[in-house]
């Protein structure tokens, strides 16, 4: 869609496994590091009282017989340990958890996050990617799979959500779980069926029954799959699809405007 509608700001929020750049092949990257505040214990001041470990809800602090240890990866950076320490023994230092890359490719400005391997918390990095949302541009965000916190963090504050599924029992089940979450967020949404024809009619029937707008169907097509495998966006080799995505985009704009 981003490659079919002119100038866009494209943000890959699937920071655990970012993939948009494997299709757009950016060359000149502007990279910056994303850091989070992490506690640092001054062992000279620490009296091993254990108040910090008791307060920490994330099991990130262990007070031993001679030393207080921080498990940095478990830390959610709430700052609570520093607050409760009676001896002022805890300060916070910035720790890198990943990177943000930016690049312009034609009319597309690409921003993507890359979580460092072994870091469990993706949401902080997603927030940092979303700081690059531009108020005066069309911002398209690529969300991670699933229904947990990283997806929710990506979806929040969006004007419209496009749920991409496939017409199989797995697709239907995960779609209906995603819709449960989207309804909690109260953001308008519609469905795109990818690989239409490979499975059954379950998703189509579900959408009809639940008044969920079915926005577009992309058929299962070996050419599309092969182009994807080679890292080529299929709209580039099959330009007839650009119009379909343009229409889809205009339709979404109409839906947003009518909703307001």
């Amino acid at each position: 869609m981003a490659l079919s509608i002119g100038a866009t700001n494209l943000l890959d929020c699937d920071v655990e496994e970012p993939n948009v750049h494997t299709l757009l092949h950016p060359t000149k990257l502007q990279t910056s590091s994303v850091t989070v505040p992490t506690p640092l214990v001054n062992q000279d001041k620490c009296t091993l009282c254990g108040k910090c470990a008791e307060f920490c809800q994330f099991n990130a602090i262990f007070v031993g017989k001679t030393k207080t240890m921080i498990y940095e990866e478990m830390c959610h950076s709430c700052g609570g340990c520093k607050l409760v320490c009676p001896d002022d023994a805890i300060t916070e230092v910035e720790r890198s958890i990943g990177k943000i890359h930016q690049s312009s490719i034609g009319q597309t400005h690409l921003v993507y996050g890359e979580l460092s391997i072994g870091e469990p918390i993706a949401t902080t990095l997603i927030k940092a990617v979303k700081e690059q949302v531009k108020a005066d541009a069309i911002n398209i965000l690529d969300a991670p799979p699933g229904t947990a916190c990283p997806v929710i963090e990506t979806m929040r504050e969006s004007d419209y959500l496009v749920l991409v599924t496939e017409p199989t029992p797995f697709g239907l089940h995960d779609l209906s779980m995603a819709i449960d979450v989207v309804r909690e967020l109260k953001i308008p949404f519609g469905v795109v069926i990818n690989r239409a024809g490979i499975g059954d009619e379950g998703v189509t029937e579900f959408c009809k029954k639940n008044d969920v707008p079915l926005l577009l169907e992309i058929p299962f097509n070996r050419q599309i799959a092969e182009l994807y495998s080679r890292g080529i966006p299929f709209v580039e080799e099959m330009p007839e699809w650009r119009q379909q995505f343009k229409d889809l985009f205009n339709h979404i704009v109409e839906l947003i405007q009518n909703g307001e």
Partner: protein, 290 residues
């Protein structure tokens, strides 16, 4: 001792769950554990009947007593997750850290336990299964994964079963880390696409970091033979054994649409023979590393 083997993928949609269920049927004597808790699909193929369901409570959420609150705004300022606006808590943003409760001068905030999901101990036609479901909008998938693994291992121990076969979640974040920490063997299901290769490399690095032995299955390998070669080369150079390659075949989706596993749907199919070979290899790898 119980051996845990996890099927993961990095990228979503590579066929991880279909392969995992097929291996589960072939293995015969295993406990299945679905650790893809925020999009669990294994139950669609195995139709479990739930024996016991347990509420899963792992975190807390801040609740403000409006009568005591003076709207001083101290909590709002202290919250690092922007979960409090105009003295109201947004439960989706609240991470349950307890900082607001601590800083409130009026004792108007209490941290209360919240249910994040359900944990299930079930029977299926191929054996026992541990699984779970995260409630919409809840976090803490990592801890729920840990609970599913604990339950799977307990069922195995109680019934003298030596293996737990885990269906993991995509990505490399907290649910995946919770899935692979301390397991015996990781099976990465990948596909020969640029994104498939990219994601496999990251998940391989993750397994390396946690010192888990890694093996790879290339699904739909004939979709792009050049990329398949690139995957084989990369795996050779990085000490990850390729268990096998599966060609693209619509029968994978057909068996899923029928709500069953591939070996049950079409026992004589060539894909099933290939998967049987792969499982034999898995067994001998696990045996030799004891």
């Amino acid at each position: 001792m119980v051996n845990e083997i996890a099927v993961i993928s990095g990228k979503g949609g590579t066929g991880k769950t279909t392969v995992c269920a097929a291996l589960g049927v072939i293995a015969e004597d295993v406990v299945m554990a679905d650790c893809d808790v925020d999009a669990p699909d294994l139950h669609i193929l195995l139709s479990p009947s739930i024996k016991t369901a347990t509420e899963f409570v792992a975190s807390k959420v801040a609740v403000i007593d409006e009568d005591l609150c003076t709207e001083c705004g101290i909590c709002e300022e202290a919250c690092r997750f922007s979960a409090i606006t105009d003295s109201r808590v947004d439960p989706i943003s609240c991470e349950g850290c307890g900082v607001c409760e601590y800083v409130c001068p009026e004792d108007a905030i209490q941290m209360v336990e919240r249910q994040s999901g359900n944990l299930y101990d079930s029977d299926t036609r191929i054996g026992r299964m541990a699984h779970a479901k995260l409630l919409p909008g809840e976090g803490n998938s990592g801890r729920l994964v840990t609970e599913v693994r604990r339950l799977g291992t307990k069922i195995a121990t109680d019934n003298g079963i030596s293996t737990v076969l885990i269906d993991g979640s995509p990505g490399i974040g907290c649910p995946v880390i919770a899935t692979v920490t301390g397991i015996k063997l990781g099976i990465i299901v990948t596909e020969p696409t640029m994104s498939g290769i990219h994601d496999m490399r990251r998940v391989l690095e993750l397994l390396g970091k946690f010192r888990v032995k890694a093996t790879v299955i290339i699904n739909k390998f004939d979709l792009n033979l050049e990329n398949t070669k690139a995957i084989e080369k990369f795996c050779r150079e990085n000490d990850a054994e390729i268990l096998g390659k599966l060609p693209f075949d619509p029968i994978m989706t057909k068996s899923m649409v029928a709500g069953t596993t591939l070996p049950e749907f079409s026992p004589e199919h060539e894909l099933v023979k290939m998967l049987e070979k792969m499982w034999k290899r898995v067994e001998s790898i696990v045996k030799s590393s004891q």
